[in-house]
Symmetry: C2
């Protein structure tokens, strides 16, 4: 049994943010009925990498879900959606703010027919405020939240996080909000609306950068790979490439001095405590540490630092990470048998519930793969379904 | 009423990852009893920015929580912890793997006295696998997950995300896992163990970079601020600084060509569709777009692109984001009256539940502020509490 079995989610989301939300819930057993436009489908069906004329992007993100094609612009399409929503636990959407209301499918309409519904929305800026109705992509949220100005190197421009964290983090917040609302509903019987925004999300994860401004009066900048508050805590060159390490305590610092064959540095007034080490990090301390690390290979450093209990890491490419025994042991790269792509390897389930483990049991659905099954369940006859199909409503 | 009222969480976490998890749950009404070492407390109590000899880091992260000081190394300390766990819904911890078992407070012990408990752990690498027992900091997970090699500019080294996303994202996953386990428990009466790891978490958010390797056979690299699959979708220089924009469709591209006064570009074979625009992005398309954006101010571009419905963003410093009317309208910067720091502004609640809104009602607790209150509730007398205090057990 999985934790969320019995929960039914009508999923109108597409692209990355909303589908990442419902991926988490699907992995743990919720039934996700993905509504896609007839003949077109989720826009991510065209996103790379493409193989056999099919999207591996769509494939990794939509595992464990069902797909029904439905044109929400038609009155019969709306009717089918509302019938689905009548029995559902959750409706999810990531249209531009106001679109669901324009379609006549807003929260007010759905709660009339199902007061227990949890109606969950993602947008770029949130459903209220002066920018609510503007379109946004991930990069807009990364820029506007302040995140880009505190990522990267001081002598480089503001820097975007590689993967679209504005999308996936907001999707994760939506999943968390949905679970909170469902928990509350179990106790009270009451559904509700919730919304999350990409800019709010990224602003909420800026760590102490916000109080650095509001309390200390400083505008945080870019520190490259170094931590501004702990030293040495950075990326360093080894003989054969780059590694990272973090020396978080005086005890670790003493061990590092010994490993480096420089016990004198532990007595050095420039490095007496973490404060002093931060003040004298550039160029002194960084040079002292790197003049040691440059003499050792990554593997030699790994052995030495692991033995001393000093947090150490290789900087892996995505390929190296995917193949690593630790990620393998955690089942973070799993195989799914996709009907078009064949056996492909995709990310596994990161939230490990030990008694009710999540898993990937089904590949992503073909467009409209479950339309007939679901409409039959709802009481439509095969003739009616054929008729709807012929008119491009499903 | 808040969504999670009535949930009691015994919170052994410290630093950033675990406390970020319980911050979300506290904001939505769960009672968080933070267990801190007598006289020392959470290690983040020493983290900057510091004002009035007190940590603004601790203050923003631990709002809405209660603090009890307790030495888990003593037999009476363990006894008090187990009594608390007997009635609690959740135990949270982010010690090094194996520490709770060594203390005699592992899941097996706690579930004996409370089979309904949800026992939730965060670690660097996960509780199983060859690296399980190694220490980790955020930068280690950013390096080992592959994230650093796909963030930053191609001619720069691998780049860490500024804020510690390895910590806060893993904390958010833990919160989501806890809510899934609590939902399941409401239906079945059964608690369970769960764990999340920092490396798993960051690997799970690499978007299509994983299938780019496993399906397309390419090892993803760094693309700076440009999206490798959509163009133009990047940061560009304006007359007075840098902006971002994303042109996601041919319709938007046509509008941009008109805004640029270059309708010829829409017919240009190099830019006929998104595929062609991606292939000819560097240097041709980027130069063509930037030779226009350089002639306009950020404000002029904002007006032009907003009118055309093309996603546009300013690149804000943390200060500019914090003061922005959109984030203000969303209550993402709120004031809390801290007993030591006075009135300070901190990040608000990003998950907006409309009927049961989360909020910040209490500042972060002083070390052990609620020890007496909670021990009295548990049935200890004032004399017993004084005795425990004198012996540094609480």
């Amino acid at each position: 049994m999985k934790a969320l079995e019995g929960i039914r989610i009508i999923d109108l989301t597409q692209a990355y943010s909303g589908p990442f939300c419902t991926m988490h819930l699907a992995d743990h057993g919720a039934e996700i009925i993905k509504i896609e436009r007839p003949g077109i489908g989720d826009q991510s069906r065209t996103w790379g990498p493409i193989k056999n004329n099919y999207s591996a992007y769509y494939a990794f993100l939509n595992r464990n879900k069902k797909s029904i094609s439905l044109d929400l612009g038609t009155s019969q399409g709306k009717e089918i959606f509302l019938k689905l929503a009548e029995d559902a636990d959750v409706v999810c959407e990531n249209f531009k703010v106001g679109t669901m209301e324009k379609l006549g499918l807003g929260y007010d309409v759905v709660k009339e027919i199902n007061p227990r519904i949890v109606y969950a929305s993602i947008s770029g800026f949130g459903i209220n405020g002066p920018m609510a109705k503007l379109p946004a992509y991930d990069i807009i949220a990364q820029a506007m939240s302040g995140l880009m100005t505190i990522t990267g190197f001081p002598d480089n421009p503001p820097t975007k996080v590689g993967p679209s964290v504005g999308d996936n983090y907001t999707g994760t917040y939506l999943a968390l909000g949905i679970m909170m609302a469902l928990y509350h509903r179990e106790l009270t019987g009451e559904g509700q609306r919730l919304d999350v925004s990409m800019v709010d999300t990224l602003f909420s994860i800026l760590e102490n950068a916000v109080v650095q401004y509001t309390v200390a009066g400083e505008i945080p900048g870019r520190n490259g790979n170094a931590d501004p508050g702990i030293a040495p805590f950075d990326a360093f060159m080894a003989k054969d490439g780059m590694i990272v390490m973090g020396v978080g305590t005086n005890v670790m610092w003493k061990k590092l001095c010994n490993i480096m064959g420089r016990p004198d540095l532990f007595e050095d007034p420039r490095y007496l405590n973490n404060d002093a080490r931060c003040r004298n990090y550039l160029p002194d301390l960084k040079d002292d540490v790197e003049s040691f690390t440059r003499t050792k290979t990554k593997e030699e450093l790994e052995v030495l630092l692991n033995e001393a209990g000093i947090p150490f890491g290789r900087i892996f490419t995505v390929a190296e990470a995917a193949k690593h025994p630790q990620l393998q042991a955690r089942e973070m790269l799993i195989e799914v048998d996709d009907p078009v792509l064949g056996k492909i390897k995709i990310q596994g389930v990161p939230i490990k519930l030990h008694s009710t483990p999540g898993s990937v049991q089904q590949p992503a659905p073909m467009l409209g793969e479950h339309t007939t099954e679901i409409l039959l369940q709802m009481g439509y006859s095969r003739d009616e379904i054929k008729n709807l199909h012929d008119r491009n409503i499903v």
